[in-house]
Symmetry: C2
Subunit: 156 residues, 2 copies
DNA sequence: GGATTTTTGTTTACAAGGAAACAATCTCTC
DNA sequence: GAGAGATTGTTTCCTTGTAAACAAAAATCC
């Protein structure tokens, strides 16, 4: 039997190497690994941070809108928000205009947490993408933005 | 309160739109959504297919090597392989040379399953990446390959 | 204006995946 | 060749996320 199969760096993946879905999964795991390695989590996980960040950008946003933009399912969003509320980071308010909905706002405490974490998050971001040049990294980001339909959001 | 926060397409994500980790997560979910929408799963989930495919490419590969290349943790790999074995798709053999290890091979049944599924998988792949041109898609794939360290594997 | 349908969030039950502790085997050093 | 340490896979427990059924409140349709 071929010895190469026992050496991880020699494993053949064939056509799979050209599969977008496969590459995206690998890339995401890669990014997460980066993330959890160099800076020890300062208490705020990536998912939590992104939720808080988007609430900060859109005060009073509804759970459904938040979930759609972040691709978080409603069932999961309920748990996430409840945890953030328990941690006194967000407050939920039911608007009179639509008593089914929940509007989310950061508590002062939450605003403080985002402020503190955002430097670490975005600062770290710039140092990610190890094997890529800065130009390639920018290109990759632009392509991903287009792919996920987030292209023109930045400049708005 | 600003009404825009209630319209999902108007949600602001600010600097998050430039975060590689965030974009990769979104992109992967996007790809998965595509995948499960247009062709109903023909019994083989993406994860299962990739495992079978790589075993097909590397007969006798060890669980550890497979896991490293596919970024699947050992604990999870054990469960995955057991399920595939129960489904009579792969066979496990403990080599005399190293009795800790497990060498994986496809059963005839497994080889058949891969053959049948691979057309669907790779055929589907080419139609993915909706908002991207073919050139952009190729560029994205090349960048991802470099990012995850799979750049020169293809041609080897 | 009352019945039907949709939207929004919650609950419950489950699947996917990871961390840590463990057991077995191999390797390395003396 | 007898221990010390590393590797490989498994088990158990836990976290993260999903699917489906549900309840309450709009919106829609005669």
């Amino acid at each position: 039997m071929d010895v190469s199969a026992r050496r991880p760096d020699k494993v053949q993946v064939g056509e799979l190497a050209g599969s977008l879905g496969f590459l995206l999964r690998l890339a995401q795991l890669h990014a997460f690994e980066d993330f959890f390695s160099d800076h020890g989590p300062r208490g705020l996980k990536p998912g939590e941070f992104s939720v808080l960040w988007v609430i900060a950008c859109n005060p009073g946003i509804r759970q459904s809108a938040l979930g759609q933009r972040l691709m978080i399912k409603r069932a999961h969003m309920t748990k996430l928000v409840r945890a953030l509320e328990d941690a006194n980071l967000v407050s939920r308010e039911i608007p009179d205009a639509d008593r089914r909905a929940v509007e989310l706002t950061l508590t002062p405490n939450g605003r403080q947490a985002v402020d503190k974490a955002s430097d670490a998050f975005f600062g770290y971001e710039e140092t990610t993408g190890a094997p890529l040049s800065l130009k390639e990294r920018a290109q990759l980001i632009a392509l991903l933005q287009k792919y996920v339909g987030l292209a023109e959001e930045t400049g708005r």
